[in-house]
Symmetry: C2
Subunit: 326 residues, 2 copies
Amino acid sequence: MTRLAIALGGNALIRRGEPGSTEVQRRNLQAAARGLVTLAEGSRAEIVITHGNGPQVGFLAIGAEMAASVVPAPPLDVLGAETQGQIGYLLAQALNDAFLERGHSREIAVIVTRTVVHGDDPAFGNPTKPVGPIYDEATAREHAAARGWDIAPDGTSWRRVVPSPHPLRIVESGAIRALVESGVLVVASGGGGIPVVERPDGGYDGVEAVIDKDLAAVVLARSVNADGLVLLSDVDAVYRRWGTPRQEPILRLSYDEAMEGLSAGAWPAGSMAPKVRACAEFIKGGGRFAAIGALENAVAIVKGSSGTWFGGDAVGLPRRAVDSAA
Amino acid sequence: MTRLAIALGGNALIRRGEPGSTEVQRRNLQAAARGLVTLAEGSRAEIVITHGNGPQVGFLAIGAEMAASVVPAPPLDVLGAETQGQIGYLLAQALNDAFLERGHSREIAVIVTRTVVHGDDPAFGNPTKPVGPIYDEATAREHAAARGWDIAPDGTSWRRVVPSPHPLRIVESGAIRALVESGVLVVASGGGGIPVVERPDGGYDGVEAVIDKDLAAVVLARSVNADGLVLLSDVDAVYRRWGTPRQEPILRLSYDEAMEGLSAGAWPAGSMAPKVRACAEFIKGGGRFAAIGALENAVAIVKGSSGTWFGGDAVGLPRRAVDSAA
């Protein structure tokens, strides 16, 4: 049976500018779940899903700040763990409903997931990922002095920045694999996973960092021996000459083309570049195919008729199985 | 192999009056994890663990209130899901460390868990469980009017109260059983599980309620066909004549004695009574044994030499295996 690892962009859950209410998340997740279930049923694939948590961890950090006089604000790894519970629960509910709409039921399990990063990752010397509230410069500098934060300007305001180290492996990979193999639809590695560093004694220490969820999805995909990695967001493809009047969607990218484009800075560092890097890494490491596209085109993406395709075989799944559901 | 379901009191994680900081939780969980690992290694049992979330969900509710002008406060089911991520992560880390201290490693998985309750449970007509911040009467009445809350006096102040319906089953029971059977130490049903009501179409709706974690532990124990149910807290046994100068620990309780004591109001409704009820329910339903006692006596409890024992067989586990680790 084909096995797919699917990553859902954080903006599929809370769109830019939307309030972080549960109601908004439920509505967006309902649409996302329908797309995922169409894909699951259409492809008859075993599926493991991961998701971003950018907006959610930001909202939790803002709340934690405001309540800090009463409850000490948790570190970022703990906030990340909270978003895995929150989003995982809401996504599981939405997936159950979307399966029911198609007359099926499917067992779903959300695993709280830790992702191991290297303590010597160069990212720890160069924190770049903004998280949490927006401050004026003076307040940001106060926090930096009092709490050891790194801060950086973000437009006209200032924010805390944290490292974004490269994901190495998943602590819970054995459990995730066991569940996937027993037919459970698994949700794991939410927000890229809770970042932990392995100590020499084999234990794990949580670190205040953010792991790119698309790179974490590659690790997840490998953990379950997935055939395909599918990165779904609100952008319908990787583009050539992005942001210019002559921009056009790219239908296929080889590993070499992807690496050349990344070196040349062809795609935005904070959004498309890590997706392209993730897909390139996955096929280079032996994955059958990878694809990037819009959530609403999920089935067509896996057929190879929408989005951007990486890997030798343009159609990664039996065409008929997919066609019948599309 | 013997299989144990173990419930850890919320106060084992944050003691009464302690601040809800991650540091405090980490320290308390370290002690709790050592007790659990001593039990796991001493008994050589397969283990599934659940835990309370009372203080944690209270702190999250307070934070959510304070930040409500910026981020709409999530409903209680979502806050419960967040505590499963938070506590589950910290507990998994502490368990890994405690196993390492004994020279072992063990795979641990935290499952975000939904517990099904009946929409017609009489508890929904009689909300009694206080949650979240403490208010003066006027503020409490404002919230009640604006948000449809039930409120009740709590000493000289007022709090929101929610229903505490009876747990029926666990949505994720198949996944939990599969993991336990493959040797994974599972943490599930945190805080009694996220309460959901099953709709006629088979889907689930989250409800704002709190499920008693000890009764939820019975459902969890049955889901994995556990031999024993062990309820660990900071109290060393069930007491006869509790709160009087003549109080004394009870070594063994039969089902009938337990039910008589419960009818007579022998134990406090909010703390010991649900534990006694849970143990009685478990052995009545075919469980081999159940026990109530202090976390630090975990191994002795399972030997039958500490705490209060329910069920026919005073020693539920091979004495030698337990002795060698105690």
